[in-house]
Every structure is written in C-alpha cells, then in structure tokens.
Amino acid sequence: MAKINSPAELEAFRKDLVAKRDPTKPLISVCCGSACLASGSGEVAAVLEEEIKKQGLSDKVELKKTGCHGFCERGPLMVLRPEEVAYFHIEPKDVSEILSQTVKEKKVLDHLVYADPAAKEKVVHEGEIPFYKYQERIVFGSNGIIDPKNIEDYIALGGYRALAKVLFEMTPEQVLEEVKKSNLRGRGGGGFPTGRKWEESRKVQSDIKYVIVNADEGDPGAYMDRSLLEGNPHLVLEGLIIGAYTVGAREGFIYVRQEYPLAVENVNVALRQAEEYGFLGENILGSRFSFTVKVHQGAGAFVSGESSALMTAIEGKVGEPRPKYIHTAVKGVWDRPSVLNNVETWANVPLIINNGADWFTRLGTEKSKGTKIFSLVGKINNTGLVEVPMGMTLRDIIYKIGGGIRGGKRFKAVQTGGPSGGCIPESLLDLPVGFDELTKAGSMMGSGGMIVMDEDTCMVDVARYFLDFLTEESCGKCVPCREGIRQMLKILTNITKGKGKEGDIELLEQLAETACEASLCALGKTAPNPFLSTLKYFRDEYEAHIKEKRCPALSCKDLIAYYINPEKCQACMTCFKNCPAQAIIGGKNLIHIVDQEKCTKCGTCFEVCPPRFRAVEKISGKPVPPPLPEEARVITRKSKEK
C-alpha cells in the first residue's frame, strides 16, 4: 500500500473501497471482544470459517471478527447483515444451521434470537432489542461493523476524514475552538474540560510536547476503554493525532495496561497500518505535520492511571504520583507539556470534528455533553457495555436498557465511579447521569463503572470491599492515604465481623477527612468516598451492624446464622446430602436442624432447599431458636399410614 498523500486521495480511496463492497452480500459479524472470547466466540468464529468453506459459501458470505458489541451477558453473539438479525448464546454446533438456514434460506432460527422476558416475545433485529434500542451509540456503534485489524474497514466508514479536515482546512486554533465549543469533558474520571486542558498545553512554549492516551483502566468491573481500544483502535488514534496537531506535539504515547493483551495487539496493528497508509509518521497525508506514537505497556497498580503517576511510569520510574502543584498539561513527561486524555475522550474528538460541536452538544445536559459509555454490571439482567446520552436517568439505564434486577430481587443501590465513587440509593434513581449530578449525589462519573446492587448486598461490606481493593492499589507514598486506608479497612472489617463499637463511625469520618484533605493525589482524596456515600444513604445499616450485631442484608457471614424452620421442613434430605460440612442433623422423616457449631455459613442449604418448602432461613441480630427435641421432629407421612 502506497501512502495516501492528500485528502483527495483519501476520499478516492474510500470511494473505491465502498464501491468494491456489495451492501446486499450477507455479512456475519461475530463479536470477538474479550468478554465474548471468554465465553467461546473464538471457537464459534473458527468453526464458522471452516463451515463456510465446507458449504461452498466463500464467495457468497463475508465473515468479520469484530470487537465488543456490548451485550456481553448474551455472548457469544453475532449479527447477520444486511438484515441485522442478532443471534445470542451461540455454540459451535449452531454454526452449520446458521449458514444453511439463515444465510442461504433467510430463515430466522428461533432458539438463537433474543427473547424479551418483559414482553414475552422474541426480538429478531439488533436495533429492536431493548438493550440496544435505548442507547445512543455514537462512539461505540462502529465496533460491531469493523474488523479492528483492518484499517480499510475504518476508512470505508469515513475514518481519518476528520484528520484530513483538520490538517487541510483548519488551523490548530480553530480545532481548539471547536473542541471547547463542544464542551467535551474528560471521560476518565474527573470531567475536566478537554479544550481547556489542550489550551493550557498549547500556550506553553516548548519544542517538545506530548499527547497521551490513558488506557490504564482499573475500576473493578469496568472494561469500556478496553473494548473501545480492542474494537476500534483507529478512532482513538485519529483523535490523538488531531489532539497532537492542536497542541503542537510531535510525539504521543498510548499507555495501555499489560493485562489487556488484545488491546495491546490491536493497537500495535493499528499503529503499523496507520503509518503504512500515511496517517502517522512524516508529513501526514502530504501535510507538513508529522507525528509518531509509541505504545507503553503499564504493569503497575491502579494508581498508575493517575495522570502524574502514569507520566512517571512512562519515564521508566515507579508509577507514583508527583507532589507538584502544576498541571501535567504544562509540565508532564520529562517536564514537557503533556496532554493526557482517556481512551473514550480521544474517541469523541473525530466525531466532533466531523459533525461539528453543535451536533455534539445536542446530546446531554447543560454541563455534560455527548454520550457516556458505562459498563453495566452486577445484579442486573443485561450485563454489558452501554452508551447513553448524558442526562439519561439511572432508572432508564438500569431498567430499560439493563432489564432490571436479576431474579426479581429489589434494587438497592448503584455504585458508580469505582473506588473513587459512591453508592446511589433507590431514592435517587431518577437522577440524570452527568458529571456534576453524580458528584452532587456523593458519587462521581469516574471512567464509567456502574455496579448494580440488590437487596442482598450489604452496604458496609461494599465500603469494606473498595477499601480493601485500595490497600493494594494505592502507591503507599503518603500517610493520609496509606495509613488512613489501613485503619479504615480495619474498622470496617471489624464492623462486618460484629466487632464494631460505639465511636467507630465518628473515627471513620475523621480518617476520611484527613484522607480527603491531605492526601497527595486524587486516589487518596477520593478513597473514602465509598464509605462516605454508603454512610450518607445507609447509615442505618452501619448502626445495625455496630449496635445490634445485625446485618440487614443478611450478607455478613459473621453476623448471620442458617436456621431450618421446623414448620416448613419436610425432611427431604436435600440439604442434608449437600451440606459440605456435614452440619445438618436429621434423617428420613426426621426434621432437619443446623448444627451451628459445625456450620460454615456457606449457604448451600439455603440454595438447595426446594422452593416449595423454603424451610432454610437466614437469621441476623437475634439468637437461633433452640432445636425441637427429637421426638417432636418425627414426621409421620399420611401416605405411609395406610
């Protein structure tokens, strides 16, 4: 491939690509994102390739291995175009039928389409499935139609057009104005206005400047940056190049965590192809602008995602935040102006340039524009990645897109923002998502983790979990964070074990104040948020643990006991046989009891007790009733009397 040397050449090349493609030719997009690969999509794709050859369909159908489509809960999944038939939970044995029936005969296979549990009907087309219908996938949408290892797929969709526009029709000042006008704010957590960050860096006189992609995603349960980088690396790269042109950088870095092998692989392929086609390197697209990118694999802790820590890591040092009171946009990597933006932030840039700031700001709330990708996980029916317009309510995200709470349970809280964020209760479900709205509620947007919790989740334990996460993931440099987290975790652990005492809440609050006010970096300053927000909305749970030694969610092992209700037990022996600790006393026709001394509280008896009996109960905060004497536990069955 010869380098593309002008916008006209790019457009001609794109037209040529589009002309070569037949839009009516059947196309199978198999999701090969990390989540689907884990559930077996790699095998499905391999069988598909083989079967296409075997059935002699090589010229008649095209197979595309794409990045993440979003509906991870239903993987492995595929979309058959042009009809947009969506199939889920595909197994290799289904492949032959898909080809012979759907591709050849245009017949839809009923057992593979989405069954809407609410409407009790099948939904055949991708766009009509509630999970996708209510989304606004301006950033993430192309993932399902692009082979991330093929730059031509991206170009065919108009890729690198924004770059051509910027290089030949716009001055850096104009680009900056457009980005500022779009009100794009950082998708990595803080929500800092992207344009202002760029401007700050642009103003500094320096012969060397850097632009950096922060792909050190680390919130528990969050994987939107990973999926975007795996599925559409050129979109992120195009944004980065535009940013470099705007601030005057000639070098860039993509800092991607080593734990994301597919993202690393796809980014490296993308960089090679972009250079080959003339989008990177000297005189990009025949302009006077030159720019190169290096991939830096991060092997550090969660804290390495903090901007100054990430930059020290790029310098080859330990990833620890710097104690400086100067923005990294002014003094960053090797003290040079360095603009660091999150994967999703960069991915929004080409869209803003192509469609204009006004197009972008039509979506969103007053201060949060555009869309946000969330990774919707936890006790929810439709787990996956969702992109919604800013301003959509949490209720709509959780119920309309997420399909509500799993197993008909009651919603309790949603955790956003990862370890720096907080838990939002049911009373605030109508909160529109936006940077300031979530912060006001005591949580934060963060990078987009959204963990849904049901009535069985103990909020004290949630706070404990996040602090436990941070004990390993903080760098440990400053006292308020390192020692504060250590003590907060100890106290919270004690509370969940029934060893909480009067004054614990107040002490936690004081530790939280010190961490928030005096920590060196944002990790420490926000580390108490999971505690503070759960205390704010679920104080009664803290008090129940401390004063009554009771876990209202019946979740903290040390505070609950399993008890078999003698009125309900039918002596069916199910729990007796399944208990791994042999802690069930009983026998045939002898009502069972739990030997509290032996019980390890694994919950097996609770789970296996037949739903028609529901004899096993969880008890917290009160003593277990004494067992009935053996003679009172004998069941005489009527059928046996005859």
Binding site: E473, V479, T514, A518
Partner: protein, 199 residues
C-alpha cells in the same frame, strides 16, 4: 531570582521566587513541623505534616508547604483548627508504628496526639523515605529502596549493594526518625555478611 513578598501567619515575609513556603517560613523563623523533609533532598510530600492553608486570588486551599512555591501576595496560615486536627491524625496514624520515636513523641505533645488511638502495627517504619532518597540522590548508591506498595510498602536494603556500599557509609542512620532503618540494616547484615570486613 525575583523577590517575592508574602504573608505567613500575619507576618510579612520576603522570599525568592522558586522557594517553597516551608523554606520561606523557616528563613523567617516560623516553625512548620515536618518528617519527610530534608533540605538536601528533592521535595517529597509524603508525610503531609507540613500542610498549611494558602489563600491565592481569593481561593483558599490546603497544600503541603514543602512542595508549594511562594508567590507574590500569597497569604499562608500555618495553624488552624483544621490543620491541627489533620496533623494530630497524621501523628496518631504514625504513632501506631513508632510510639516511642522521640520526634513523634515531641510533636504528639504539641498537637495532643494520642499514641494509643490505633492498635500497634508490626513495623516501625513510617515510610518517610529519607534513607531511600538520601542513598539515591546524595550517595547515588541505591542500596536501600521501597518494596511493594499500598499498605504493604516498606523499605528494604538490597543485600548485594548494601554489602559493598553500606559498611563504611551509614549516613542514613541518623536520618531515620524511628529506629527501623538500623534494624533493617542489621538484619540484612546478618543474612548477608559477605563483603563486610567486620562481619
């Protein structure tokens, strides 16, 4: 270097541009407590004890004075109810590690810190990093470093380097505010006596 005029605790103080608030305060004879600060070393900002309140262009914020630089018309307060409360908490957190360290005990008396507020921890080290940074920045030997992270962070001598570099230096010993460093060294020495002529 340009002269800068600022106010610290109500006193007009002259300083040079590029100086930190801590340096300006010390020059003017105003005491701000520190644990990880050393005039020969790069500002570290680890212990956060030197936290002060600054007022700049109408904004008030808490910063650590060992890093924050002076500026014209800057207003600094080195004591306030909030600052004292934070310092007391920092001291109490550290006293869980080194309850008998003289420097900590002195500061604890000043701020009313309770040495028994938290259960005792198993390590005396307060991770001030003076030894690590002195060895790296001044001696350029890197014989002692940090290992692990988060709450597991601790200092450790690198035996291969320590065996060569430490026995006739030991300049870091008096820097250690607790007695942990010497203990760590003795331990290293015990495990790795080779190269040490006296051992």
């Amino acid at each position: 270097m340009k002269d800068v005029q600022l106010t610290i605790d109500g006193r007009e103080v002259k300083a040079k541009e590029g100086m930190t608030v801590l340096e300006a305060a010390r020059k003017a004879g105003i005491f701000i407590p520190t644990l990880c600060y050393h005039e020969k070393l790069e500002p570290y900002g680890g212990c956060r004890l030197c936290i002060v309140e600054v007022e700049e262009r109408g904004w008030t914020k808490l910063v650590v004075s060992c890093v924050f630089q002076v500026a014209d018309n800057l207003v600094v307060r080195t004591r306030s109810e909030k600052i004292d409360r934070i310092r007391k908490m920092i001291l109490e957190l550290l006293l869980a590690h080194a309850p008998d360290a003289p420097e900590l005990a002195r500061l604890a008396a000043e701020y009313g810190a309770d040495r028994n507020r938290f259960d005792k921890e198993s390590s005396f080290c307060i991770n001030c990093g003076l030894c690590v940074r002195y060895c790296a920045e001044i001696k350029k030997k890197f014989a002692v470093g940090f290992v692990s992270r988060g709450t597991r962070r601790e200092i450790s001598f690198i035996p291969e380097i320590a065996a060569e570099a430490c026995w006739n230096c030991k300049e870091c010993f008096p820097l250690c505010p607790t007695s942990f460093l010497q203990a760590a060294y003795v331990l290293t020495e015990a495990f790795f006596p080779k190269g040490n002529p006296s051992g």
